[in-house]
Protein backbone atom coordinates (compact mmCIF):
# COMPACT_ATOMS: atom_id res chain seq x y z
CA UNK A 1 0.00 0.00 0.00
CA UNK A 2 2.63 2.52 0.91
CA UNK A 3 4.48 1.69 -2.28
CA UNK A 4 1.54 3.08 -4.21
CA UNK A 5 1.28 6.10 -1.97
CA UNK A 6 4.97 6.90 -2.20
CA UNK A 7 5.29 6.34 -5.90
CA UNK A 8 4.33 9.78 -7.24
CA UNK A 9 6.25 11.69 -4.61
CA UNK A 10 9.48 9.75 -4.71
CA UNK A 11 11.03 10.84 -8.05
CA UNK A 12 10.38 14.52 -7.39
CA UNK A 13 12.06 14.33 -3.97
CA UNK A 14 15.08 12.45 -5.23
CA UNK A 15 15.42 15.03 -7.93
CA UNK A 16 15.61 17.95 -5.53
CA UNK A 17 18.12 16.22 -3.25
CA UNK A 18 20.36 15.58 -6.25
CA UNK A 19 19.95 19.14 -7.43
CA UNK A 20 20.61 20.55 -3.98
CA UNK A 21 23.77 18.44 -3.75
CA UNK A 22 24.98 19.72 -7.11
CA UNK A 23 24.42 23.28 -5.95
CA UNK A 24 26.44 22.64 -2.77
CA UNK A 25 30.02 23.80 -3.27
CA UNK A 26 31.58 21.52 -0.63
CA UNK A 27 29.89 18.47 -2.12
CA UNK A 28 30.94 19.25 -5.67
CA UNK A 29 34.59 20.01 -4.84
CA UNK A 30 34.77 16.95 -2.58
CA UNK A 31 33.17 14.70 -5.20
CA UNK A 32 35.58 15.91 -7.90
CA UNK A 33 38.67 15.42 -5.67
CA UNK A 34 37.71 11.96 -4.49
CA UNK A 35 36.43 11.04 -7.96
CA UNK A 36 39.79 11.87 -9.53
CA UNK A 37 41.70 9.91 -6.90
CA UNK A 38 39.36 6.94 -7.25
CA UNK A 39 39.76 7.02 -11.02
CA UNK A 40 43.55 7.13 -10.72
CA UNK A 41 43.42 4.24 -8.25
CA UNK A 42 41.14 2.17 -10.51
CA UNK A 43 43.39 2.72 -13.50
CA UNK A 44 46.61 2.24 -11.50
CA UNK A 45 47.49 -0.91 -13.44
CA UNK A 46 47.19 0.95 -16.75
CA UNK A 47 48.50 4.45 -16.01
CA UNK A 48 51.29 3.70 -13.51
CA UNK A 49 54.47 4.33 -15.50
CA UNK A 50 56.55 1.71 -13.61
CA UNK A 51 56.23 -1.43 -11.53
CA UNK A 52 55.45 -0.27 -7.96
CA UNK A 53 57.49 -3.11 -6.43
CA UNK A 54 60.49 -3.36 -8.76
CA UNK A 55 63.34 -0.96 -8.13
CA UNK A 56 65.84 0.31 -10.64
CA UNK A 57 69.16 0.36 -8.81
CA UNK A 58 70.61 2.79 -11.27
CA UNK A 59 67.92 5.34 -10.40
CA UNK A 60 67.88 5.45 -6.60
CA UNK A 61 66.57 8.59 -4.84
CA UNK A 62 66.15 10.47 -8.10
CA UNK A 63 64.48 13.86 -7.62
CA UNK A 64 61.16 14.51 -9.38
CA UNK A 65 61.75 14.92 -13.13
CA UNK A 66 60.10 14.27 -16.48
CA UNK A 67 61.06 10.58 -16.24
CA UNK A 68 60.00 10.13 -12.61
CA UNK A 69 57.29 12.71 -11.88
CA UNK A 70 57.37 12.21 -8.10
CA UNK A 71 60.97 10.93 -7.95
CA UNK A 72 62.17 7.51 -6.75
CA UNK A 73 62.94 5.99 -3.34
CA UNK A 74 66.13 4.40 -2.02
CA UNK A 75 65.38 1.17 -3.88
CA UNK A 76 64.87 3.11 -7.11
CA UNK A 77 61.13 2.47 -7.07
CA UNK A 78 58.93 5.05 -8.78
CA UNK A 79 56.99 7.03 -6.14
CA UNK A 80 54.12 7.94 -8.47
CA UNK A 81 53.50 4.28 -9.35
CA UNK A 82 53.66 3.33 -5.68
CA UNK A 83 51.19 6.07 -4.76
CA UNK A 84 48.77 5.02 -7.51
CA UNK A 85 48.82 1.41 -6.30
CA UNK A 86 48.76 2.58 -2.69
CA UNK A 87 45.64 4.63 -3.38
CA UNK A 88 43.99 1.46 -4.60
CA UNK A 89 44.63 -0.37 -1.31
CA UNK A 90 43.78 2.68 0.79
CA UNK A 91 40.47 3.29 -0.95
CA UNK A 92 39.56 -0.40 -0.78
CA UNK A 93 40.23 -0.41 2.94
CA UNK A 94 38.33 2.87 3.39
CA UNK A 95 35.26 1.64 1.51
CA UNK A 96 35.28 -1.71 3.29
CA UNK A 97 35.60 -0.07 6.71
CA UNK A 98 32.78 2.39 5.91
CA UNK A 99 30.49 -0.47 4.80
CA UNK A 100 31.30 -2.84 7.67
CA UNK A 101 30.98 -0.01 10.19
CA UNK A 102 27.71 1.14 8.61
CA UNK A 103 26.27 -2.38 8.76
CA UNK A 104 27.41 -3.07 12.34
CA UNK A 105 26.32 0.43 13.38
CA UNK A 106 22.82 -0.13 11.98
CA UNK A 107 22.39 -3.53 13.61
CA UNK A 108 23.73 -2.46 17.01
CA UNK A 109 22.22 1.04 16.95
CA UNK A 110 18.79 -0.16 15.82
CA UNK A 111 18.70 -2.96 18.41
CA UNK A 112 19.68 -0.50 21.10
CA UNK A 113 17.34 2.28 20.05
CA UNK A 114 14.30 0.11 19.29
CA UNK A 115 14.37 -2.55 22.00
CA UNK A 116 14.46 -0.61 25.25
CA UNK A 117 15.63 -3.55 27.32
CA UNK A 118 18.76 -3.97 25.21
CA UNK A 119 19.57 -0.27 25.30
CA UNK A 120 21.39 -0.09 28.65
CA UNK A 121 23.71 -3.09 28.25
CA UNK A 122 24.55 -2.36 24.61
CA UNK A 123 25.33 1.27 25.25
CA UNK A 124 27.51 0.48 28.28
CA UNK A 125 29.50 -1.88 26.08
CA UNK A 126 29.84 0.84 23.43
CA UNK A 127 30.96 3.29 26.14
CA UNK A 128 33.62 0.81 27.18
CA UNK A 129 34.88 0.51 23.60
CA UNK A 130 34.89 4.29 23.23
CA UNK A 131 37.05 4.68 26.35
CA UNK A 132 39.99 3.41 24.30
CA UNK A 133 41.39 5.96 21.87
CA UNK A 134 40.26 4.59 18.47
CA UNK A 135 43.66 4.54 16.85
CA UNK A 136 45.23 2.65 19.78
CA UNK A 137 42.46 0.09 19.78
CA UNK A 138 43.06 -0.39 16.06
CA UNK A 139 46.84 -0.70 16.56
CA UNK A 140 46.39 -3.28 19.31
CA UNK A 141 43.81 -5.36 17.42
CA UNK A 142 45.73 -5.22 14.17
CA UNK A 143 48.93 -6.32 15.87
CA UNK A 144 47.22 -9.17 17.70
CA UNK A 145 45.46 -10.45 14.58
CA UNK A 146 48.58 -10.13 12.42
CA UNK A 147 49.43 -7.89 9.51
CA UNK A 148 47.06 -8.16 6.54
CA UNK A 149 44.59 -6.04 4.61
CA UNK A 150 41.63 -7.96 6.08
CA UNK A 151 42.87 -7.54 9.63
CA UNK A 152 43.39 -3.81 9.12
CA UNK A 153 39.76 -3.61 7.95
CA UNK A 154 38.59 -5.55 11.01
CA UNK A 155 40.63 -3.42 13.40
CA UNK A 156 39.54 -0.07 11.94
CA UNK A 157 35.89 -1.19 11.81
CA UNK A 158 35.89 -2.22 15.46
CA UNK A 159 37.35 1.18 16.36
CA UNK A 160 34.75 3.12 14.33
CA UNK A 161 31.61 1.12 15.14
CA UNK A 162 30.68 2.33 18.66
CA UNK A 163 30.30 5.98 17.64
CA UNK A 164 28.37 4.97 14.52
CA UNK A 165 26.02 2.80 16.58
CA UNK A 166 25.41 5.76 18.87
CA UNK A 167 24.47 7.98 15.94
CA UNK A 168 22.06 5.38 14.52
CA UNK A 169 20.56 4.82 17.98
CA UNK A 170 19.99 8.56 18.45
CA UNK A 171 18.03 8.90 15.23
CA UNK A 172 16.14 5.63 15.78
CA UNK A 173 14.98 6.92 19.17
CA UNK A 174 13.59 10.08 17.55
CA UNK A 175 11.89 8.25 14.68
CA UNK A 176 10.54 5.53 17.00
CA UNK A 177 8.18 8.07 18.59
CA UNK A 178 6.76 9.29 15.26
CA UNK A 179 3.06 8.86 14.62
CA UNK A 180 3.56 6.82 11.49
CA UNK A 181 5.47 4.26 13.52
CA UNK A 182 2.62 4.09 15.98
CA UNK A 183 0.23 3.73 13.04
CA UNK A 184 2.27 0.90 11.57
CA UNK A 185 2.26 -0.85 14.93
CA UNK A 186 -1.49 -0.32 15.24
CA UNK A 187 -2.19 -2.09 11.95
CA UNK A 188 -0.15 -5.02 13.22
CA UNK A 189 3.14 -4.64 11.39
CA UNK A 190 5.95 -6.88 12.66
CA UNK A 191 9.02 -5.54 14.48
CA UNK A 192 11.16 -6.37 11.48
CA UNK A 193 8.88 -4.51 9.13
CA UNK A 194 8.59 -1.46 11.36
CA UNK A 195 12.34 -1.34 11.87
CA UNK A 196 13.35 -1.78 8.25
CA UNK A 197 10.56 -0.03 6.39
CA UNK A 198 9.73 2.82 8.72
CA UNK A 199 12.42 3.48 11.26
CA UNK A 200 15.65 2.70 9.45
CA UNK A 201 14.44 4.09 6.15
CA UNK A 202 13.89 7.39 7.93
CA UNK A 203 17.12 7.46 9.93
CA UNK A 204 19.55 6.96 7.07
CA UNK A 205 20.70 10.58 6.61
CA UNK A 206 23.02 10.82 9.64
CA UNK A 207 24.38 7.36 8.84
CA UNK A 208 25.32 8.30 5.28
CA UNK A 209 27.12 11.39 6.56
CA UNK A 210 28.87 9.40 9.28
CA UNK A 211 29.99 6.74 6.78
CA UNK A 212 31.69 9.41 4.67
CA UNK A 213 33.66 10.59 7.70
CA UNK A 214 34.45 6.98 8.69
CA UNK A 215 35.87 6.51 5.20
CA UNK A 216 38.08 9.58 5.69
CA UNK A 217 39.28 8.51 9.13
CA UNK A 218 39.94 4.97 7.86
CA UNK A 219 42.32 6.35 5.22
CA UNK A 220 44.12 8.41 7.87
CA UNK A 221 44.30 5.54 10.33
CA UNK A 222 45.35 2.98 7.75
CA UNK A 223 48.28 5.27 6.98
CA UNK A 224 49.12 5.38 10.69
CA UNK A 225 48.96 1.58 11.02
CA UNK A 226 51.21 1.09 7.99
CA UNK A 227 53.59 3.80 9.18
CA UNK A 228 53.97 2.12 12.57
CA UNK A 229 54.37 -1.27 10.95
CA UNK A 230 51.15 -3.08 11.80
CA UNK A 231 49.44 -2.50 8.43
CA UNK A 232 49.47 -4.73 5.36
CA UNK A 233 52.90 -6.42 5.21
CA UNK A 234 55.69 -5.08 2.97
CA UNK A 235 56.30 -4.72 0.10
CA UNK A 236 52.60 -3.77 -0.29
CA UNK A 237 52.65 -0.11 -1.35
CA UNK A 238 50.41 1.73 1.13
CA UNK A 239 50.55 5.45 1.87
CA UNK A 240 51.82 4.90 5.41
CA UNK A 241 54.48 2.43 4.27
CA UNK A 242 55.80 4.80 1.59
CA UNK A 243 55.99 7.62 4.16
CA UNK A 244 57.75 5.31 6.64
CA UNK A 245 60.28 4.39 3.91
CA UNK A 246 60.99 8.05 3.27
CA UNK A 247 61.35 8.98 6.94
CA UNK A 248 65.09 8.29 7.09
CA UNK A 249 65.77 10.23 3.91
CA UNK A 250 63.59 13.25 4.61
CA UNK A 251 66.49 15.67 4.19
CA UNK A 252 68.19 14.03 1.21
CA UNK A 253 65.00 12.99 -0.60
CA UNK A 254 61.96 14.79 0.86
CA UNK A 255 59.79 13.85 -2.15
CA UNK A 256 59.51 10.26 -0.93
CA UNK A 257 57.66 11.51 2.15
CA UNK A 258 55.94 14.63 0.86
CA UNK A 259 54.12 13.19 -2.16
CA UNK A 260 52.26 10.31 -0.42
CA UNK A 261 51.38 12.56 2.54
CA UNK A 262 49.86 15.15 0.22
CA UNK A 263 47.89 12.39 -1.48
CA UNK A 264 46.44 11.31 1.87
CA UNK A 265 45.68 14.95 2.69
CA UNK A 266 43.84 15.50 -0.60
CA UNK A 267 41.87 12.25 -0.30
CA UNK A 268 40.77 12.97 3.25
CA UNK A 269 40.03 16.61 2.39
CA UNK A 270 37.86 15.44 -0.51
CA UNK A 271 35.93 13.05 1.73
CA UNK A 272 35.49 15.66 4.46
CA UNK A 273 34.13 18.16 1.93
CA UNK A 274 31.84 15.46 0.54
CA UNK A 275 30.63 14.69 4.06
CA UNK A 276 30.07 18.38 4.86
CA UNK A 277 28.04 18.77 1.68
CA UNK A 278 25.97 15.65 2.35
CA UNK A 279 25.31 16.83 5.91
CA UNK A 280 24.17 20.27 4.80
CA UNK A 281 21.74 18.80 2.30
CA UNK A 282 20.54 15.57 3.94
CA UNK A 283 20.68 16.41 7.60
CA UNK A 284 20.43 20.14 8.23
CA UNK A 285 19.80 19.59 11.96
CA UNK A 286 23.42 18.47 12.44
CA UNK A 287 24.73 21.66 10.89
CA UNK A 288 24.68 23.57 14.14
CA UNK A 289 27.07 21.18 15.80
CA UNK A 290 29.75 20.72 13.29
CA UNK A 291 29.89 23.73 11.03
Amino acid sequence: MDAVMNAPAAPARRDTVARRLLRNRSFVIGAVLIGLIALAALLAGVIAPYDPLKGNFRARMVAPSATYWFGTDHFGRDILSRILHGARISLQIGIAVALVTGLLGVVIGAASGYFRRLDGPIMRLMDAFMAFPGIILAIAISSVLGASVTNVIIALSIAATPHTARIVRASVIVVREMEYVEAARAIGASHARILLRHILANSMAPLVVRMTYVFAVAILNEAVLSYIGVGPPPPTPTFGAIIANGRDFIVAAPWITVAPGLTVLVSVLGLNLLGDGLRDVLDPRMRVNAR
Partner: protein, 314 residues
Amino acid sequence: MGRYVLRRLLATVPVLLLVSLLTFALLWLVPGDPASMFLDTSATQEALERVRREMGLDKPFLVRMGDWYWRVLQGDLGTSLLLNRGVTEAILERLPVTLSLTAIAFVFAVLIGVAAGVLAAVRHGRAADQGVMTLALLGLSIPEFWFGLVLIWLLAVTVQWFPAGDYVAFAQSPVLWAWHLALPAFTLACVQMGFIARMTRSSMLEVLGQDYVRTARAKGLPEPYVVLRHGLTNAMVPIVTVMGIMVGALLGGAVVTEQVFSLPGLGRLIIGAVLSRDFPVIQGGLLFLAVIYLVVNLVVDLLYAALDPRVRLE
Protein backbone atom coordinates in the same frame (compact mmCIF):
# COMPACT_ATOMS: atom_id res chain seq x y z
CA MET B 1 24.52 17.98 43.41
CA GLY B 2 25.61 15.26 45.85
CA ARG B 3 23.08 12.84 44.38
CA TYR B 4 24.20 13.65 40.86
CA VAL B 5 27.85 13.00 41.75
CA LEU B 6 26.93 9.66 43.29
CA ARG B 7 24.81 8.64 40.29
CA ARG B 8 27.53 9.63 37.86
CA LEU B 9 30.16 7.73 39.88
CA LEU B 10 27.99 4.62 40.00
CA ALA B 11 27.40 4.80 36.24
CA THR B 12 31.15 4.63 35.69
CA VAL B 13 31.54 1.32 37.53
CA PRO B 14 30.01 -1.02 34.90
CA VAL B 15 31.93 0.76 32.14
CA LEU B 16 35.17 0.33 34.10
CA LEU B 17 34.45 -3.37 34.55
CA LEU B 18 33.72 -3.76 30.84
CA VAL B 19 36.84 -1.81 29.90
CA SER B 20 39.06 -4.11 31.94
CA LEU B 21 37.22 -7.15 30.57
CA LEU B 22 37.84 -5.94 27.01
CA THR B 23 41.53 -5.42 27.74
CA PHE B 24 41.71 -8.89 29.22
CA ALA B 25 39.81 -10.33 26.24
CA LEU B 26 42.36 -8.99 23.75
CA LEU B 27 44.29 -12.24 24.25
CA TRP B 28 41.33 -14.19 22.81
CA LEU B 29 41.86 -12.51 19.48
CA VAL B 30 45.28 -14.09 19.10
CA PRO B 31 44.99 -16.83 16.49
CA GLY B 32 46.21 -20.13 17.92
CA ASP B 33 48.25 -20.39 21.13
CA PRO B 34 49.04 -16.96 22.63
CA ALA B 35 52.16 -18.37 24.24
CA SER B 36 53.65 -19.24 20.84
CA MET B 37 53.56 -15.54 19.93
CA PHE B 38 56.46 -14.78 22.21
CA LEU B 39 58.67 -17.57 20.97
CA ASP B 40 59.88 -18.45 17.53
CA THR B 41 58.82 -21.63 15.78
CA SER B 42 61.84 -23.60 16.96
CA ALA B 43 60.84 -23.19 20.63
CA THR B 44 60.83 -26.34 22.71
CA GLN B 45 57.75 -27.73 24.37
CA GLU B 46 59.19 -26.83 27.79
CA ALA B 47 59.70 -23.20 26.76
CA LEU B 48 56.09 -23.02 25.61
CA GLU B 49 54.93 -24.54 28.89
CA ARG B 50 56.99 -22.05 30.83
CA VAL B 51 55.52 -19.04 29.00
CA ARG B 52 52.02 -20.47 29.38
CA ARG B 53 52.60 -20.82 33.09
CA GLU B 54 54.01 -17.29 33.34
CA MET B 55 50.98 -15.95 31.51
CA GLY B 56 48.67 -18.10 33.57
CA LEU B 57 47.31 -19.76 30.44
CA ASP B 58 47.36 -23.17 32.10
CA LYS B 59 44.58 -22.16 34.49
CA PRO B 60 40.85 -22.21 33.67
CA PHE B 61 39.44 -19.07 32.11
CA LEU B 62 37.38 -17.82 35.04
CA VAL B 63 40.29 -18.26 37.43
CA ARG B 64 42.50 -16.26 35.08
CA MET B 65 39.92 -13.51 34.86
CA GLY B 66 39.55 -13.46 38.64
CA ASP B 67 43.33 -13.25 39.04
CA TRP B 68 43.49 -10.43 36.52
CA TYR B 69 40.81 -8.37 38.26
CA TRP B 70 42.38 -8.99 41.67
CA ARG B 71 45.80 -7.88 40.50
CA VAL B 72 44.50 -4.84 38.57
CA LEU B 73 42.53 -3.67 41.61
CA GLN B 74 45.79 -3.65 43.54
CA GLY B 75 47.41 -1.59 40.82
CA ASP B 76 49.52 -4.49 39.57
CA LEU B 77 49.36 -4.76 35.78
CA GLY B 78 51.76 -7.69 35.59
CA THR B 79 55.34 -7.99 34.41
CA SER B 80 56.64 -7.04 31.02
CA LEU B 81 57.87 -10.06 29.10
CA LEU B 82 60.56 -8.02 27.42
CA LEU B 83 61.64 -5.27 29.82
CA ASN B 84 61.63 -7.69 32.75
CA ARG B 85 59.99 -5.22 35.10
CA GLY B 86 56.58 -4.27 36.39
CA VAL B 87 54.18 -2.83 33.82
CA THR B 88 52.72 -0.31 36.28
CA GLU B 89 56.20 0.95 37.09
CA ALA B 90 57.14 1.30 33.40
CA ILE B 91 53.91 3.16 32.64
CA LEU B 92 54.20 5.58 35.57
CA GLU B 93 57.76 6.36 34.58
CA ARG B 94 56.69 7.43 31.09
CA LEU B 95 53.40 9.05 31.99
CA PRO B 96 54.77 12.62 32.57
CA VAL B 97 55.93 12.80 28.94
CA THR B 98 52.53 11.83 27.54
CA LEU B 99 50.63 14.06 29.95
CA SER B 100 52.91 17.04 29.17
CA LEU B 101 52.45 16.55 25.45
CA THR B 102 48.68 16.15 25.76
CA ALA B 103 48.34 19.14 28.08
CA ILE B 104 50.28 21.53 25.82
CA ALA B 105 48.42 20.26 22.76
CA PHE B 106 45.13 20.80 24.60
CA VAL B 107 46.07 24.41 25.39
CA PHE B 108 47.11 25.00 21.76
CA ALA B 109 43.92 23.47 20.41
CA VAL B 110 41.61 25.44 22.70
CA LEU B 111 43.38 28.82 22.50
CA ILE B 112 44.03 28.84 18.76
CA GLY B 113 40.82 26.99 17.87
CA VAL B 114 38.56 29.30 19.89
CA ALA B 115 40.32 32.47 18.70
CA ALA B 116 40.03 31.34 15.07
CA GLY B 117 36.39 30.38 15.53
CA VAL B 118 35.50 33.73 17.10
CA LEU B 119 37.31 35.59 14.31
CA ALA B 120 35.43 33.60 11.66
CA ALA B 121 32.07 34.22 13.34
CA VAL B 122 32.67 37.96 13.76
CA ARG B 123 33.79 38.25 10.14
CA HIS B 124 31.02 35.94 8.96
CA GLY B 125 30.97 35.50 5.17
CA ARG B 126 34.09 37.57 4.56
CA ALA B 127 37.60 36.62 3.52
CA ALA B 128 38.82 36.03 7.10
CA ASP B 129 35.92 33.61 7.69
CA GLN B 130 36.67 31.65 4.54
CA GLY B 131 40.38 31.62 5.30
CA VAL B 132 39.86 30.30 8.83
CA MET B 133 37.38 27.68 7.69
CA THR B 134 39.72 26.47 4.94
CA LEU B 135 42.58 26.16 7.45
CA ALA B 136 40.30 24.34 9.90
CA LEU B 137 39.32 21.85 7.20
CA LEU B 138 42.99 21.33 6.30
CA GLY B 139 43.75 20.76 9.99
CA LEU B 140 41.02 18.13 10.15
CA SER B 141 42.27 16.36 7.06
CA ILE B 142 46.03 16.33 7.61
CA PRO B 143 47.71 13.05 8.57
CA GLU B 144 49.29 14.08 11.90
CA PHE B 145 52.35 11.84 11.79
CA TRP B 146 53.18 13.08 8.30
CA PHE B 147 52.72 16.70 9.28
CA GLY B 148 55.10 16.04 12.18
CA LEU B 149 57.72 14.68 9.77
CA VAL B 150 57.33 17.71 7.52
CA LEU B 151 57.68 20.08 10.49
CA ILE B 152 60.84 18.23 11.59
CA TRP B 153 62.23 18.53 8.09
CA LEU B 154 61.41 22.24 7.72
CA LEU B 155 61.67 23.71 11.23
CA ALA B 156 64.07 21.36 13.01
CA VAL B 157 66.51 20.28 10.30
CA THR B 158 66.42 23.02 7.66
CA VAL B 159 66.17 26.17 9.80
CA GLN B 160 66.84 24.56 13.21
CA TRP B 161 64.43 26.69 15.22
CA PHE B 162 63.21 23.72 17.22
CA PRO B 163 64.72 20.42 18.34
CA ALA B 164 63.65 17.39 16.29
CA GLY B 165 62.62 15.40 19.34
CA ASP B 166 63.83 14.26 22.74
CA TYR B 167 62.30 15.22 26.02
CA VAL B 168 63.50 17.46 28.84
CA ALA B 169 61.69 17.10 32.15
CA PHE B 170 59.80 20.14 33.41
CA ALA B 171 61.63 19.96 36.74
CA GLN B 172 64.94 20.11 34.93
CA SER B 173 64.17 23.19 32.83
CA PRO B 174 60.68 24.53 32.13
CA VAL B 175 61.96 26.52 29.13
CA LEU B 176 63.64 23.57 27.45
CA TRP B 177 60.61 21.44 28.31
CA ALA B 178 58.29 23.79 26.42
CA TRP B 179 60.76 24.28 23.58
CA HIS B 180 61.15 20.54 23.04
CA LEU B 181 57.42 19.92 23.16
CA ALA B 182 56.34 22.87 20.98
CA LEU B 183 56.52 21.09 17.60
CA PRO B 184 55.04 17.76 18.71
CA ALA B 185 52.25 19.51 20.63
CA PHE B 186 51.39 21.70 17.66
CA THR B 187 51.34 18.64 15.39
CA LEU B 188 49.09 16.80 17.80
CA ALA B 189 46.78 19.80 18.26
CA CYS B 190 46.04 20.32 14.55
CA VAL B 191 43.02 18.06 14.20
CA GLN B 192 41.34 19.21 17.42
CA MET B 193 42.13 22.83 16.54
CA GLY B 194 40.15 22.37 13.34
CA PHE B 195 37.23 20.83 15.21
CA ILE B 196 37.17 23.55 17.86
CA ALA B 197 37.41 26.36 15.30
CA ARG B 198 34.42 24.93 13.42
CA MET B 199 32.39 24.36 16.58
CA THR B 200 33.19 27.77 18.03
CA ARG B 201 32.23 29.49 14.80
CA SER B 202 28.83 27.81 14.51
CA SER B 203 28.12 28.16 18.21
CA MET B 204 29.12 31.87 18.14
CA LEU B 205 26.98 32.53 15.07
CA GLU B 206 24.00 31.05 16.87
CA VAL B 207 24.61 32.98 20.10
CA LEU B 208 25.28 36.29 18.33
CA GLY B 209 21.83 36.01 16.76
CA GLN B 210 20.13 35.84 20.18
CA ASP B 211 17.95 38.59 21.62
CA TYR B 212 20.17 39.25 24.62
CA VAL B 213 23.08 40.03 22.31
CA ARG B 214 20.91 42.52 20.46
CA THR B 215 19.90 44.02 23.80
CA ALA B 216 23.52 44.29 24.90
CA ARG B 217 24.37 46.09 21.67
CA ALA B 218 21.29 48.29 21.90
CA LYS B 219 22.21 49.56 25.35
CA GLY B 220 25.51 50.70 23.90
CA LEU B 221 28.01 48.18 25.27
CA PRO B 222 31.28 48.17 23.33
CA GLU B 223 31.36 45.51 20.61
CA PRO B 224 34.36 43.54 21.95
CA TYR B 225 32.59 43.29 25.31
CA VAL B 226 29.41 42.05 23.65
CA VAL B 227 31.28 39.47 21.57
CA LEU B 228 33.42 38.13 24.39
CA ARG B 229 31.28 38.50 27.50
CA HIS B 230 27.81 37.86 26.10
CA GLY B 231 28.80 35.91 23.01
CA LEU B 232 31.77 33.73 23.82
CA THR B 233 30.82 32.87 27.40
CA ASN B 234 27.59 31.32 26.17
CA ALA B 235 29.07 29.89 22.99
CA MET B 236 31.65 27.95 25.02
CA VAL B 237 29.04 25.72 26.67
CA PRO B 238 28.81 23.11 23.87
CA ILE B 239 32.60 23.20 23.51
CA VAL B 240 33.14 22.43 27.18
CA THR B 241 30.94 19.34 26.81
CA VAL B 242 33.21 17.81 24.14
CA MET B 243 36.45 18.55 25.96
CA GLY B 244 36.50 15.13 27.59
CA ILE B 245 36.20 13.44 24.22
CA MET B 246 38.92 15.76 22.95
CA VAL B 247 41.34 14.65 25.64
CA GLY B 248 40.70 11.05 24.56
CA ALA B 249 41.48 11.88 20.95
CA LEU B 250 44.62 13.77 21.99
CA LEU B 251 45.84 10.84 24.10
CA GLY B 252 45.37 8.55 21.10
CA GLY B 253 47.16 10.97 18.82
CA ALA B 254 49.95 11.40 21.37
CA VAL B 255 50.85 7.73 20.98
CA VAL B 256 51.59 8.30 17.30
CA THR B 257 53.16 11.75 17.73
CA GLU B 258 55.59 10.41 20.34
CA GLN B 259 56.72 7.87 17.79
CA VAL B 260 57.43 10.56 15.17
CA PHE B 261 59.30 12.88 17.55
CA SER B 262 61.01 10.07 19.51
CA LEU B 263 59.56 11.18 22.84
CA PRO B 264 59.94 8.53 25.55
CA GLY B 265 56.27 8.47 26.57
CA LEU B 266 53.49 5.98 27.09
CA GLY B 267 52.85 5.85 23.35
CA ARG B 268 56.33 4.66 22.51
CA LEU B 269 56.08 2.12 25.28
CA ILE B 270 52.82 0.76 23.85
CA ILE B 271 53.99 0.75 20.24
CA GLY B 272 57.25 -0.88 21.21
CA ALA B 273 55.20 -3.52 23.02
CA VAL B 274 52.93 -3.93 20.00
CA LEU B 275 55.88 -4.50 17.68
CA SER B 276 57.52 -7.01 20.04
CA ARG B 277 54.16 -8.50 21.13
CA ASP B 278 54.80 -7.80 24.79
CA PHE B 279 51.27 -8.54 25.92
CA PRO B 280 51.17 -7.39 29.54
CA VAL B 281 52.45 -3.97 28.44
CA ILE B 282 49.87 -3.66 25.64
CA GLN B 283 47.06 -4.60 28.02
CA GLY B 284 48.33 -2.40 30.83
CA GLY B 285 48.85 0.58 28.52
CA LEU B 286 45.39 0.25 26.98
CA LEU B 287 43.74 -0.08 30.37
CA PHE B 288 45.64 2.90 31.70
CA LEU B 289 44.66 5.15 28.79
CA ALA B 290 41.02 4.08 29.04
CA VAL B 291 40.93 4.81 32.76
CA ILE B 292 42.45 8.27 32.19
CA TYR B 293 39.78 8.89 29.57
CA LEU B 294 36.96 7.80 31.89
CA VAL B 295 38.26 9.92 34.76
CA VAL B 296 38.62 13.00 32.55
CA ASN B 297 35.09 12.55 31.24
CA LEU B 298 33.77 12.10 34.74
CA VAL B 299 35.43 15.37 35.78
CA VAL B 300 34.09 17.19 32.71
CA ASP B 301 30.56 15.93 33.38
CA LEU B 302 30.71 16.97 37.02
CA LEU B 303 32.06 20.40 36.09
CA TYR B 304 29.33 20.77 33.54
CA ALA B 305 26.69 19.83 36.08
CA ALA B 306 28.16 22.35 38.51
CA LEU B 307 27.95 25.06 35.83
CA ASP B 308 24.55 24.17 34.45
CA PRO B 309 22.00 23.01 37.08
CA ARG B 310 19.63 21.68 34.41
CA VAL B 311 21.97 18.75 33.74
CA ARG B 312 21.60 17.46 37.30
CA LEU B 313 17.84 17.15 37.02
CA GLU B 314 17.82 15.04 33.86
